[in-house]
Point group: C2
Chain length 232, copies 2
Amino acid sequence: MSLPKPPLSELEQAFGYTFQNRERFQQALTHRSANAQHNERLEFLGDSVLGIIISEALFERFPQIDEGDLSRMRATLVCGRSLAKLAQKFQLGRHLWLGPGEMKSGGHRRESILADAVEALLGAMYLESDLATCRKVVLNWYKEQLNHIKPGAGHKDPKTRLQEYLQGKQLPLPLYDVVTIQGQAHNQRFTVSCTTELLAEPVLGSGTSRRKAEQQAAAQTLELLQTQEQGN
Amino acid sequence: MSLPKPPLSELEQAFGYTFQNRERFQQALTHRSANAQHNERLEFLGDSVLGIIISEALFERFPQIDEGDLSRMRATLVCGRSLAKLAQKFQLGRHLWLGPGEMKSGGHRRESILADAVEALLGAMYLESDLATCRKVVLNWYKEQLNHIKPGAGHKDPKTRLQEYLQGKQLPLPLYDVVTIQGQAHNQRFTVSCTTELLAEPVLGSGTSRRKAEQQAAAQTLELLQTQEQGN
């Protein structure tokens, strides 16, 4: 636990808040692989703090937009990738405490570890301040994104995005088939397969309606295709 | 829109708050089937307000409990069923505005409609007050539940609950089989089937690990079995 790290004040400056409780601040930067006093409880709290701040901001900025579009925009803003980008901006990875295994495998660059630490820091800030303080800091992180985000645009549903992805590669459209329908009327569960030319096997999705199951299958297909691309 | 309804003050008394903005209060009670000015945006906001209040309460009450158990307890407290029970306690159904179709099919008793209205009321309260006011009201609703909730107990994972359910009926244990594994190492997606004697077809679940996929399949099996029981 005595590797040379840059001063924490650099992180605080980028993050936009100076922590009073230094022990908790350190804990927020500690992955479970490094110490029993790790950041998961703080992350649990911080996740909810982020949720209310972003929900409120979107609710106010988009008075005419329906709940579906608000939820999609919120999902975009608070997703792991978005938080990991903030962490990179804060150069947070340099300040993380990781166990030896995670350290070797590049855990300080892993999106999920970075995203969790941002939420944990937010939880630690909330515990010693209040919602208004957190709101000010968080809205500052998201200033640009909130100015540019648009309902609909960039938050297309997974089926539309998958279709556009395949069309962009001049490939045939995906095929959706219902695999099973389970349960009784009014409480059914649909399982649907999504077949594309790019994956050897169909991908399954399930949901309480055929439409929802198809969206889930499309979302999972997209995720796999994007991983494949990154791997190549 | 002119059916005789009991006075809204009765609802406010049970809910624990008197609304200043009467128009928004009405909107929080309006299902999308009844009017273009419906409660879904308020529900979007209220969901986040509920999230932070319950997260914070659990975080404080259980200083030694890990994130997994906190999340399970939160899920129990904020689930649709739990919110619908609160709505029943408030006799909220009598005050709902529903479209003719929903009215006929008993929408004012439907769990999801009741739960959504509780969140929408919470959203409306938050907009005209603050987090401290909402916290006081919400923690009063949950007083009993928060006093009795225990980490672990009653929040067993779905596989354990399914096993106990089947054992209670002296039936054989469920069988889990891996159906597909998709994607590359470190980013795989597992699809698993769960077969029980009580359902004609296996139920599928998916996740980023075999364990997660099995838990999802078990959760969906339990849901179907409970629906079957209610139907009988």
